[in-house]
Symmetry: C2
Subunit: 552 residues, 2 copies
C-alpha cells in the first residue's frame, strides 16, 4: 500500500513552506527556544535537529506526511513480523535479534524468539570455548580471528570491532578480509600465525563469490601449513543460512551458526554475524551492544512521531534531500574509533534506499537515498569540508561526538569537541561578504586587498546539520546509534514507498561478471578476442588479455 | 583572466548537443569504432572514456570551451612558475618536484630547481642513514615510523605507502597519526616500541593544531620512556617550511626538511612530505613514483587536447557534472591496495574545486566539484553500487584496475577483472523492463510474478563511467595516476575559473573552534554556561560541560 508522496496535500504544503522558509540563522535569531524545541533524547543519545531549516509548521507537515504514508502501520507490521520485505515476501526482524526481554516475536506467523535465543546461546558457549580451551592444529590457543565476509557480513562487525577497541580482550585480535583481490587475504595470512587462527566464514547463502573464494584459499593455506581436515573443521566457523554447504566445506557442525531469511545482510550485526565482535570484546559486551539497540527499538516503537528520534532523523533527511536539494549527506564522527561508521552507513542508506521503484513497482517520483560519505573529524576539516562550507551544492551532515573520551591522551578531547561544535556553527552561520570585509579591514588590509579577498572569505551559511551527542562511546551508545540509523532508513523507505530490504540492483553486474570471467586470460595464456559486447568492454578485455598473455 | 564559461557560445552549443545526445548504449550500437576513438594512452595508463555520453561533436565543443577558458595559457603559466595560485599570489610547482631531468624551474622568477635537488638529496641521505646506522635512545635501529600530519600532509603518503606494499622494505613499518582525537596517537604509541621509532612531524607552518598537539604528546611519551632531549632531536624529523619552529620544538636541524610556499598541501607528496614513503619503500622506489608522475607531466604539457588524458578527464568530468547532472563521482579502484585512493582524491577534488567564487571574486554560475567518494571493488558492489545502478540520481564513476597482480593468490585476480568490466558494462547498458520480463518468463515465473518483479529488475543504464587500466600497480603507474588526477583538477579549476590551490573555506571553522575551546570544561570541572552563540551551539556546549563535570 505505497503512495506517491509527491501527490499528497502535505507535499504541496511543504513545497510552499519551503519557498518561504527563513534561513536557519534568522530562525535562531527569532526564537531563543529553538534548540530546546528541536532536540530529542533517546537511549542515551541526544539528537539536536535545530540546525536544519525547519520550523514548527514544516515539522508538523512532515509528520503529517509520515502518517499519510502509513508509517505507524508499517512500523507495527515490521515489529509484528509481517512481510515488510514485500518484493522478497519476507519479514525484517533485526529487532527480534537484540530483544533479550521475554517478548516473543514471530516471522510471518511462525515464532522465532526461541530460535534466536538458542542460536545466541550457542554463540555464547562458542565464545567461551574459544576464549578458554579451543586449540589450533599445533596445540596453541586460538587468539586470532580472520573474518571472511563482504558487504553486510563485513561492514557491521568491522565497524563495531573498531569502535569498541576500548573493550578488546587482551591478546585477542581480529582481521577482516572481504575483497576477492587475493592480496586482501594474502596480506592477512602473512600477518597471522595460522596455527592460532580461527577463520570465520560469513555468507548467508554460503555461495557469495568473494567469500567462498577466500574461504577456500584460507583452507588451502591452513592445510598447506600441515593442518588436517579435522583441524580445518575446528579452526573454521561458519555464519550462514546454508548449514549444509558449510558442512560440505568442512566446518564442524557445532561451529556452524545460523541466521534466517528475515535477517537482511546490512541489518545482521545483531545475529550470529556479530560473532567476530563477541570474540573480540567478549559476549557480555556484545550483549550490551544489543541492549543499546534494543533501547532504541523501544523508543522507536513507542515515542510519538514528534519526539521520535529515528522518525525525526528520517523526516529531516527527506526534507534536506527533497526540498533543500542535498544530493549528498556527510557522516562526520568526531571520533577516530568510528572511522568505519561512514562506510557502514553508506551501505545501510544507499543499498536500502538507492532505488527508483516503489515496492509496488511504480516509479518513485522524487529523489531517494543521497550519496552518503564521510570521514572522522577533525581529519575531514583538512580534507573535504572546504566543499561543504563554500561549494555550490547544499550537502547535509550529521555530527556525532561523545562528551568524554578515555585513554592516556583524553585531554586532547577538548580540542575535538570544540572543533565539532565549531563546524556545525560555521556551516549554519556562514559569513557575509560585509562581515568578511569588516574583518579584513580590522586586520589592517588595504582597501584593494579587502576587495580582492572578501569574496573568498565569504561563506553562504545555511548548510543543514544534525548533531548526535552521547556521554561516551561504548557498547550501549553504539548499539543505540546503529539502531537509530537502521530505523531512519526504514522510515525513509516507507516515506518514499521503497522496500529497503531488497537489493535487486546488484544482480545485473553479477550476471555480467559471470559471463566475462571465462574470457579473462590466465597469466601467460592468450585467449581469442571477445566480440559479443560493446566495443569498450571488448577493447578493455583484449588489452587485459594481451597484457596477461605477456606475463610469465 | 577568468571567464564565465556558462556565458560562452560553446556552453550554449553544449546545452543543445546535450538535449539531443543519444544514450550511450545507442552510440555503441551505431559506431563500432567508438571505444578506440574515445580512449587515450598516457604514461603507462590506458584511459577509456567511451562509456560516457559524449560524441565527436560534444568533445569538439568541450575542447573549444577549454581553449576559450585559456587552458593552454594557464598550463603554460603553471609550468613557468607564474602565480597561478592567484588569491595567495603563489606559484604551484609540484611538477618541479618530480622532474629529475636537467630542466630548470623558477617560481615567480626565482630559480628553484637547485633547492629541490638539494632537499631531495638531503632526504635520500637521511633515508640511507635511517636504514643503516641511525639508532634510538636504547641503541636499537629505527625500523618504525610514526608519521604525524593531517590533510595534505597525511592522505598522500598514507595512500602511497598502502598502495606500494609490494615494495615495502623488510622489517620496516609506518603508522600514520592525523586526528587530534587522543586515541589516534594513543593507539599508535601502544603498538610500537618508542625506542625503535622515528617520529616524523609534517606541517607546512609547524602550527597545525592537530599535528603540533600530537607531536608534543609523542615527544612527552618518548621522554616518559627515558629519552633525553638529545634523543628527541635524533628520533624526530620535521617536514615544514618553518624550520625555526621545528628547531624550537627540538628536532635536530639536519633532520628538518623543507618545502616551499609554491607546494600546495594536497599536491605535496612529491616533496619531502614523501619522506615516510621513501623510508618504507626505499628512496629509489620513491624516485620511480616521482618518475611516473613526471611522465604524466610531459604528456600533459605536450599532448594536444583531444589526446591529452588529464584534459579529457577534466572535460568529461565537467560534462558529467554540469550537463549530465552528476552531483557525485565515485572512485572505484578494483585493487585492495588502493583502498586509500578515494579519500586522497576526495580531498584533491573537493578541497581544490569545492568553491563558489572564481579567482577574480565573481560567483561561479555553474556547479563545481562534485562529492567524490568510493571504496575498492569488489567490496563496493556489496555496499553502495545498488544506488549507482538503480538510484534516482546519475552518479559518474572511474574504474581503476591493473591487468596483473602479484602475490600468492594472484589467481583470484581474474575474478576481480571480470567484476570490474562487468560493472561498467552494466551501468552503461542497463536492462529494460522488457528484457527483465523476458528473462523472468524464461526462468519459468508465472505471469503475475513476472509483472510483480520486472520493475525491480529493470536498470535505467546510461550511467557514465571511465575505466583506467594499467599493466600492474607499481611506483610508476601510481605516480602517473596521481598526476593524472592532479592535472584534471587543475584543468577543471581553469574551466570553472576557480583557483584550485587555496582553501579559504577551512578558516571560519578554525576561528570558531579557537573561540569555543576555552569554554569546554576539563573533566570534572564545571564551566559557566556560554551565552553568546546560537541556542543550539549553546545547548550542546552546556550538555557537554554538564556531562564532563560529572566525570571523575
Amino acid at each position: 500500500l505505497t503512495i506517491d508522496i509527491a501527490a499528497t496535500e502535505e507535499w504541496t504544503r511543504l513545497l510552499s513552506l519551503h519557498a518561504r522558509a527563513p534561513r536557519i540563522r534568522e530562525q535562531f535569531a527569532r526564537d531563543p527556544e529553538r534548540a530546546r524545541r528541536f532536540s530529542v533524547e533517546a537511549a542515551g543519545l541526544f539528537v539536536d535537529f535545530s540546525k536544519n531549516r525547519i520550523d514548527d509548521g514544516v515539522l508538523r507537515e512532515l509528520i503529517a506526511l509520515a502518517h499519510r504514508a502509513g508509517l505507524d502501520q508499517a512500523r507495527a507490521r515490521m515489529f509484528a513480523g509481517e512481510p515488510v520485505n514485500a518484493t522478497e515476501d519476507r519479514a525484517a526482524l533485526h529487532v527480534a535479534l537484540r530483544d533479550r526481554s521475554s517478548r516473543t516475536y514471530s516471522a510471518r506467523g511462525a515464532e522465532i524468539s526461541s530460535l534466536v535465543r538458542a542460536e545466541l546461546a550457542k554463540m555464547e558457549r562458542f565464545c567461551a570455548h574459544v576464549h578458554s580451551d579451543a586449540r589450533g592444529f599445533r596445540g596453541d590457543p586460538l587468539d586470532t580471528v580472520v573474518h571472511i565476509g563482504i558487504g553486510g557480513s563485513d561492514l557491521g562487525p568491522r565497524m563495531a570491532v573498531d569502535a569498541l577497541k576500548q573493550y578488546w580482550l587482551a591478546g585477542q585480535r581480529t582481521l577482516f578480509v572481504s575483497n576477492v583481490d587475493g592480496r586482501h587475504l594474502g596480506d592477512a595470512l602473512a600477518s597471522v600465525d595460522p596455527a592460532r587462527t580461527l577463520f570465520i566464514v560469513a555468507s548467508k547463502t554460503f555461495s557469495t563469490l568473494e567469500t567462498v573464494t577466500n574461504a577456500r584459499a584460507a583452507r588451502d593455506a591452513l592445510i598447506g601449513r600441515g593442518a588436517s581436515d579435522r583441524d580445518v573443521a575446528r579452526q573454521f566457523a561458519a555464519l550462514t543460512s546454508n548449514s549444509r554447504a558449510a558442512a560440505e566445506f568442512g566446518v564442524a557442525p557445532d561451529q556452524v551458526f545460523s541466521f534466517w531469511d528475515w535477517v537482511g545482510g546490512r541489518f545482521s550485526l545483531w545475529s550470529v554475524i556479530g560473532l567476530p565482535v563477541a570474540l573480540q570484546i567478549g559476549f557480555d559486551v556484545f550483549a550490551a551492544l544489543q541492549g543499546g539497540a534494543a533501547a532504541m527499538d523501544r523508543h522507536f516503537e513507542t515515542a510519538p512521531a514528534g519526539a521520535n528520534a529515528p522518525v525525526l532523523l528520517a523526516l529531516i533527511g527527506l526534507w534536506n534531500r527533497n526540498f533543500e536539494g542535498a544530493a549528498a549527506h556527510a557522516i562526520l564522527p568526531y571520533d577516530q574509533r568510528l572511522g568505519e561508521l561512514p562506510a557502514f552507513l553508506q551501505q545501510l542508506e544507499m543499498e536500502s534506499n538507492g532505488k527508483r521503484r516503489r515496492s509496488d513497482g511504480a516509479p518513485v517520483r522524487v529523489q531517494t537515498a543521497p550519496v552518503v560519505f564521510g570521514e572522522p573529524g577533525t581529519d575531514c576539516q583538512h580534507a573535504f569540508m572546504q566543499a561543504l562550507h563554500q561549494g555550490t551544492d547544499v550537502i547535509s551532515a550529521d555530527f556525532i561526538v561523545a562528551a568524554l573520551s578515555d585513554g592516556e591522551l583524553a585531554g586532547q578531547h577538548e580540542l575535538l569537541l570544540a572543533n565539532c561544535l565549531a563546524q556545525s556553527e560555521a556551516l549554519m552561520r556562514g559569513k557575509t561578504e560585509d562581515e568578511a570585509r569588516a574583518e579584513l579591514a580590522a586586520a589592517g588590509l588595504s582597501a584593494a586587498e579587502v576587495e580582492r579577498l572578501a569574496p573568498h572569505q565569504t561563506f553562504p551559511g545555511g548548510r543543514p546539520s544534525t548533531t548526535i551527542l552521547m556521554e561516551r562511546l561504548g557498547p550501549q551508545t553504539l548499539g543505540a546509534l546503529i539502531a537509530l540509523y537502521e530505523h531512519k532508513v526504514f522510515c525513509q523507505g516507507v516515506l518514499w514507498g521503497i522496500n529497503p530490504f531488497d537489493q535487486w540492483g546488484v544482480e545485473l553486474g553479477k550476471a555480467l561478471a559471470k559471463a566475462i570471467r571465462p574470457e579473462i586470460s590466465a597469466r601467460g595464456e592468450r585467449k581469442p578476442a571477445a566480440s559479443r559486447r560493446d566495443s569498450s568492454t571488448n577493447q578493455l578485455l583484449d588489452r587485459i588479455n594481451a597484457l596477461r598473455s605477456r606475463a610469465e
